[in-house]
């Protein structure tokens, strides 16, 4: 807080106790301040937190967790709040533990290719801090300008370059975690990967803030590839673009990134802040990047261009400069947000499908769009079959949000039925918990909530996320039976 100090004293005794732990200026409790924490990047679900406490170290987190356990008050850890599934959104009454003031880069060890950061450290800043020495941090979610690495770990965030390099979990060497009982533990000390025993880092990464609060992260950093080439391929038929994706992968090429955008999405990004000048009449474009040792890159690129030509591409162009490449990526990475320029609201879905099923799934998504009379834009990581249908709607029109939610859910059903999954990188959060049933049986869900209960027995840490409600009924029934 800054500027003039508020004269009002907090009435809530819990707020005063939080202040005793973190300091008077480190707790928000006024309704007008809290309303900004009603939701994260997923705006369909909202809830008022009871308070927001800013923490500075693991010890403070531990004390707060112990306090809230005693008081039986639920709590949520929150980073930048850019998540797209409501993982950091309160259902109502939770204390938000904000990690954003723990934002130091603690240690860089390039010889061992690792860096230690606090959870509030912003994703892109890690690459920016080491790029002059020729290194980078690979996971690159589109929100990387603002999202925190702590949040990335909680959600197991992906990104455009995960096709070749893997998602967040493939880049985490160690974690310091405050468990829901207040204990501070280190997993994967010294950053040595693959220690014997259970893969706890793997379990924690992507647990959506339900198993513990991460307070320190050891990340893997990579050497910049020697060479890089980026092309844009414009298609008149969406099926041709989809087929090209499939053919590129089956030809044995693994591009660093293989992205696709359809016509509605192209209209969005061209109306946004980083227009490239894509033709408005194409059905789709592919943005393809190959990287690695200089020697083989041109061959790979030629092969890709051949595949595109075979699939009736209208035009293929290679980025002529780093500036052009950056513009293409800015256009892509700000794609979701740019939809604001053509629609007041959007709901982004995150289905995964086998690549070979792309054409038929896209056709079905087109049918869903017609059925609900809502535009659906498609921006996605085509290479790994990770679709992002963006259902465009206007929340001010009565009933439209509900229709959008239904359309989104149906898109996920199509993905699940095609042998895929309901989320590739955005997490389940509040948004997709019911859709978990598309891919898991009640027993499978229960097996997972049993694991959660080992860490988080009272379900005070981020309750109501990740699993559907009746999964909890099963637990309640069982608890009663015991």
């Amino acid at each position: 807080m800054f500027g003039k100090k508020s004269r009002k004293q907090p009435k809530d005794p819990l707020v005063r106790k939080l202040m005793d732990i973190v300091g008077e200026n480190e707790v928000l409790y006024l309704k007008e301040d809290l309303v900004a924490y009603e939701c994260d990047g997923f705006t369909m679900s909202k809830g008022m937190p009871r308070a927001v406490a800013f923490v500075h170290n693991a010890e403070e987190v531990s004390q707060i967790v112990k306090l809230l356990n005693r008081e039986k008050v639920p709590y949520i850890a929150r980073g930048a709040g850019t998540g797209l599934s409501g993982g950091a959104t309160p259902l109502g009454g939770e204390v938000i533990i904000s990690m954003v003031r723990m934002k130091r880069l603690l240690h860089v060890d390039l010889e061992n290719r690792k860096a230690v950061v606090e959870p509030g450290f912003v994703n892109l800043k890690l690459t920016q801090s080491i790029s002059d020495r020729g290194y980078y941090y690979a996971p690159d979610p589109s929100s990387q300008y603002a999202c925190t690495i702590g949040g990335n770990v909680a959600e197991n965030a992906g990104g455009a370059h995960c096709l070749k390099y893997g998602v967040t979990t493939n880049h985490i060497l160690g974690l310091e975690v405050v468990l829901p009982n207040g204990e501070i533990v280190e997993i994967g000390e010294e950053g040595i990967p693959d220690r014997p025993g259970y893969d706890l880092i793997g379990l924690l990464t992507g647990s959506e803030g339900t198993l513990g609060i991460i307070t320190k992260i050891t990340c893997k950093v990579l050497k910049n590839p020697q060479g890089k080439k980026t092309v844009l391929a414009y298609f008149d038929e969406i099926n041709d673009a989809s087929q090209a994706v499939s053919d590129i992968i089956s030809a044995g090429i693994i591009p660093a990134a293989l992205e696709m955008m359809d016509q509605t999405a192209i209209h969005g990004v061209e109306s946004g802040a980083h227009p490239v000048g894509h033709p408005r009449d194409i059905a789709a474009f592919l943005l393809i990047e190959v990287d690695g040792i200089e020697a083989g890159i041109d061959d790979q690129m030629n092969e890709i261009v051949e595949v595109c030509k075979k699939n009736h591409v209208r035009e293929v162009k290679v980025a002529q400069s780093e500036a052009e490449r950056e513009l293409w990526w800015a256009n892509r990475k700000t794609g979701f947000s740019a939809m604001g320029a053509i629609s007041p609201d959007y709901l982004v879905q995150d289905g995964v499908i086998p690549r070979t099923r792309l054409p038929e799934v896209l056709t079905k998504i087109g049918e869903i769009s017609k059925k609900y009379n809502l535009r659906i834009a498609n921006i996605f990581h085509a290479g790994d079959g990770n679709l992002h249908p963006l259902v465009l709607y206007d929340a001010r029109v009565p009933g439209e949000a509900e229709r959008a939610a239904k359309a989104g859910s149906e898109c996920l059903k199509v993905c699940a039925d095609a042998g895929g999954s309901i989320t590739g990188e955005h997490g389940v959060g509040i948004e997709k918990k019911e859709e978990m049933r598309f891919i898991f049986t009640d027993e499978e869900i229960e097996a997972q909530t049993n694991i959660r209960a080992v860490f988080n027995p009272e379900d005070l840490l981020n309750p109501g996320k990740l699993f559907p409600e009746p999964g909890r009924c099963v637990e309640v029934k069982r608890a009663k039976a015991q």
């Binding site: 705006t43 800013f54 939809m339």
Partner: protein
């Protein structure tokens, strides 16, 4: 003073506009479409200096937009707690550069401030200060000039020396003391002293009008003199319409949109016969270019304001785009360039001033890291929020590269603020306006040409 109910009535009388919007109940309602563009993605967070410093969601652009929307939805009231984050914003517009959907966060915040000031008129000391400074001085050029005269008296008469020596200044809060220490030596304002038209030198390329500004003309009349010399040297008649007024930016930032509109009307009138209105103060330039936003709810003024706003251009952009005369002599110096927020973020002018500077022979431009992050000046922000302004100033000074002799920029507020930082942190760089450097080059050229003739 009107009562709240009377104000509601006056809101209703506005042509074709809804009377209220949720808990926004006063005249000149905020623009719903501005927040409809925001999809809450958070791409603006790390661009925002107050979010960078606090990490607080309601102190971020997305958070502020959300709060404004929450008032319109009737979730929260227009009160002290809402007002705080809305007035804690710098209005630096860095979020607008970052926003993928081009949400006009700055304009929206100014509109919300307009609601707050009508709902909760300033009382006490801040009310008095606002009344005397913003209403009593800025709208009246003669009073501004007298203030300048008083300052000159303070500096020249020895009172300044005495005050500094005796420790009399210690009664001032630190940030005001720091500010006093760097007050530039006040010259005489250009407006009124110069003729209304300063003719072009040599071949005449056209005519332009110049907004002389308030702070610029009182504190930095030398920059205005340099601007006029540079323009006439480039072949332009420079018109200085006498009836021009303060641009109103400070009033609009402070939520006093009525005074802002009154000033805007006078300026639209004062410059009506000109096709090009040039500005050398980024804050003023941005305000003039947004007069159409100001009159958004006034169908009568809107077309006039639109036409006016389109005529306004920053001096650096105008010179660059109109093929300014490349100086022929060397000015050997290493400099850096600071992007004034209202030039880079509000007007999108980044390339042209850098290019002007680079094309002066002998000038070596070293890029300033994070050059477009606010220095903390932000209009009168450094007076109303000294703590945050001080934190941002410290970061700015920390970023200034070693071994540069000058820091150039295009806004008087930044010039004062950064000069203060240079002094406070024991640095030695000279703070100059972009056109001043160009002016020096031209003057040096002229002198050398004269010497050549004389020898």
């Amino acid at each position: 003073m009107m009562s709240v109910d009377e104000k509601k009535m006056s809101a209703q009388t506005e042509q074709g506009m809804p009377a209220t919007l949720g808990n926004f109940k006063w005249n000149d309602l905020p623009d719903e479409n501005k927040w409809a563009d925001c999809v809450h993605c958070g791409m603006c967070l790390e661009a925002c200096p107050t979010y960078q410093e606090t990490g607080e969601e309601h102190q971020s652009p997305r958070g502020r937009v959300y709060l404004i929307k929450a008032v319109a939805e009737g979730k929260i009231d227009v009160n002290e707690a809402f007002s705080k984050p809305i007035f804690d914003g710098l209005d630096c517009r860095a979020c607008e550069t970052a926003c993928p959907a081009s949400v006009q966060v700055g304009g929206l915040i100014e509109e919300a401030r307009g609601q707050i000031r009508q709902a909760m008129p300033l009382k006490g000391i801040s009310g008095a200060v606002s009344k005397t400074v913003l209403k009593g001085f800025f709208p009246h050029p003669s009073r501004m000039h007298k203030l300048g005269g008083l300052m000159k008296l303070y500096q020249k008469s020895g009172i300044q020396k005495l005050a500094r020596k005796t420790g009399l200044l210690n009664i001032l809060p630190t940030h005001l003391k720091d500010m006093e220490a760097i007050l530039p030596e006040v010259g005489k304002p250009v407006l009124g002293r110069y003729p209304e038209v300063v003719p072009a030198e040599g071949e005449r390329k056209g005519r332009v009008a110049l907004l002389t500004g308030c702070v610029m003309d009182v504190m930095f009349s030398d920059v205005n003199e340099a601007t006029i010399r540079v323009l006439t040297h480039n072949g332009y008649d420079v018109h200085l319409p006498k009836n021009q007024r303060c641009c109103g930016a400070l009033h609009i930032h402070a939520g006093d949109r009525e005074t802002g509109k009154a000033l805007a009307k006078q300026n639209i009138e004062a410059f009506k016969e000109f096709d090009k209105v040039l500005v050398n103060a980024a804050g003023c330039g941005a305000a003039l270019q947004e007069y159409d936003e100001l009159f958004r709810n006034d169908p009568e003024m809107l077309p006039l304001a639109k036409a006016f706003s389109e005529k306004v251009e920053d001096i650096s952009k105008f010179l660059y785009e109109n093929g300014f005369k490349r100086p022929k002599v060397e000015v050997k110096t290493r400099i850096t360039y600071h992007d004034a927020c209202h030039l880079a973020h509000a007007q999108g002018v980044r390339f042209e001033p850098r290019q002007l500077l680079k094309e002066i022979p002998g000038v070596e431009l070293v890029e300033l890291p994070d050059a477009d992050r606010c220095c903390g000046s932000a209009g009168i922000y450094n007076l109303t929020h000294p703590d945050m302004a001080g934190r941002l100033l410290e970061r700015k000074i920390d970023d200034i590269p070693e071994n540069v002799e000058m820091i150039t920029m295009g806004n008087p507020g930044c010039m004062l603020q950064i000069a203060m930082g240079v002094k406070k942190y024991g640095r030695s760089e000279k703070v100059v306006h972009t056109v001043q450097l160009l002016d020096w080059a031209y003057e040096k050229e002229k002198k050398e040409a004269e010497n050549l003739v004389n020898t």
